[in-house]
Symmetry: D2
Subunit: 222 residues, 4 copies
């Protein structure tokens, strides 16, 4: 697809969650991809490692949910989720948006979660952090739309990735039971599906999708 010719992308947590699949797919399409493997994305890190603002920013952030009843949420687990999912997303977007606005084009694609769309019991801290991400993307997406910059999120669930679905979980009887009763497709989706959706959203031809969280969840949420 020649539309990506000469385009540049930066992928956060490129060794984790949907980072590898998206980076590979963008490269396949001819994008020059920078893979960043930091976790927290402080301003100092961004200024040093993301000094040249690329055409496409993949804000891929992950932190496994700390499962458990709400009365047992630990402050440190709560903070870890916000430190790894929420605050870095804001800093990344804050860092790149001026240049994209001035340039009149740019793509920010956040890989978030479908969890806030429906809610997951015993994962309320995770829901909260992902909910902050999704709502932030909506606000920013509407804000940057008129400047030619498209900001969207991929709200996935039950998509294969090492961070949330390590190989042993995939064999777990209870997990297979969850798939059978909770996921209409009865399967975990392929990481390529997220990667291709990210490529759609990153496509220079696609400018009418903004501030959208697109669910990719096997029918778990509609």
């Amino acid at each position: 697809m020649s539309t990506f010719k000469g385009k540049t992308a930066w992928v956060s947590s490129a060794d984790r969650y949907m980072g590898p699949a998206i980076a590979t797919e963008l490269e396949r399409l001819g994008v020059l991809v920078t893979r960043d493997t930091d976790r927290l994305y402080t301003d100092a890190h961004l200024q040093s490692k993301l000094s040249e603002i690329p055409d496409i920013v993949i804000a891929n952030l992950a932190e496994p949910p700390k499962k458990g009843p709400v009365e047992h949420i630990e402050d440190s687990d709560w903070e870890t989720l916000f430190d790894h999912l929420v605050h870095p997303l804001m800093r990344i977007v804050r860092h790149v948006s001026s240049a994209m606005k001035e340039r009149g084009h740019g793509k920010i694609i956040a890989v978030t979660s479908a969890a806030p769309l429906r809610g997951i019991p015993f994962a309320s801290a995770y829901c909260a952090a992902r909910g902050a991400q999704n709502a932030f993307i909506k606000g920013v997406g509407l804000e940057l739309a008129k400047f030619g910059v498209q900001v969207n999120g991929i709200g996935q669930n039950y998509i294969e990735n090492d961070t949330y679905y390590p190989p042993d979980l995939m064999q777990d009887e209870r997990f297979i039971q969850v798939l059978n009763t909770q996921v209409p497709t009865k399967k975990v989706g392929s990481s390529l599906e997220t990667a291709k959706l990210a490529a759609y959203l990153a496509d220079p031809d696609v400018r009418h999708v903004v501030g959208q969280i697109i669910p990719l969840a096997g029918g778990w949420t509609t």
Copy 2:
């Protein structure tokens, strides 16, 4: 993209709404496309013209909204909307689903509207008909998911097409004012954006999106 090699598609109202753009894009990807230009899609028509069930069915149905206050809805306009948008969609899906289920794969992509996601004043009849479509797609999408068949809808608004946005409307001062105040991108989107989204949903690699109405509306709805 070799994933479409040897695939067949059937596009309804192929001369109208998003039919031309989607048919062209699928052909570009190597799909063998049949363009059907009927309007009502009776069982007789489907049995005769869609006797061989293709891999991909594009249920593209359109009928301009009859704008006006709810107290002035004409029975005939109301019926026309249901006759052109709602009942054909059911008949098309009913006609193709058995074969797709037996085969263990298949794609149905309905081009519907974002109107029911938010509601449009003075277009309540149109909202009703599109709302029936969207909810039908959700139900069928969840139902067919476990059979390997993916059914989804594209909920678009403010995407260029001859049926809803004829050239003279696009120049209309009042319409430009609507774009400026109601649509965050301040623009009408390109038909290629819908076509590429349809191609994403039709991609054999994409099996985890089911029963979903994906908004494509310039931020008019999120």
Copy 3:
């Protein structure tokens, strides 16, 4: 609650679905309630039986879903659903809206379903009809808002009523299993909950809720 003093209401299908519970609750609050037990609400019926437009209109329409796979939908079942759920709702709203607009106040509350919010497999015809209702209510709700008329829907599921949950179903083992796996509250809700929500929406003090489908579904949808 004195806010309802002197108010009048008309309840459709008053012997069915949520009709009895809502009529009783409104009467308890001092509303003068007319109970209509027709099914189809033709224009002739409405002109004759609803000649004086009341303050509050409860558009309570019900028809049990015809369950089954999409390929087995019968035209007659499909039409029955639209004839009993969709077209009467339009005619009722069309009939009362002018008077309410002129008067500068009025309440229309449709008892619909949560089915279209998430989709129900093997009930796609029912989803379609309820989806038409919900989207119609959104459009009309936004349209009439500025005239001081509030139109909303109650999107319920798993609420006790004779039409959908007859006593024998409530004892059925499979149904109890569905409650346990699909409904977070693990229970069927009381009809009083819908009635009290209808009373909230009918309250003259409540004018900021418009075009809204409020889910009431035990957490089945959020």
Copy 4:
């Protein structure tokens, strides 16, 4: 309404946002209300001031949005929003849920915002914080449902309150223009509407609404 007889409630930020209106309405219904006027709700504060867990907890938290483009978000403003809106909500729910679960009943009603449902440009930090709240309420609501505890949120916008709509703003020409173009009712709603919705959700008879964010926004979102 005798259903509230003998019930106790605790209202946070009782001097701010929707606190006064809700506290007054619950008292009118016969509830014994404790008004807490703290801001941060640390564990120490909760252990000391909320040692007896009431039947009803109103988690009313407010902090005016820091408006501005995303590239100008200040770390301190961002943190203030999370410190006042997000973390206290978690601590309040964490503090009261065990007792409510053991008792087999309880009500938690969070007054949040409709902002995350649609997104607000130039208020992305606020969207993020309210989005965390809404998603947290969904997760907890689904989690506590089977224990007889109902947790819900009120997603309001354009409802009168001193915190967001001080008297001078209400007279502002630009604000009135926003109401006219963005809010279908063309008005700011009364605080009593939120208070009555809170009373509905707090009603012991209402047990089928869980994990829900109910929009109350003049049609700004549907």
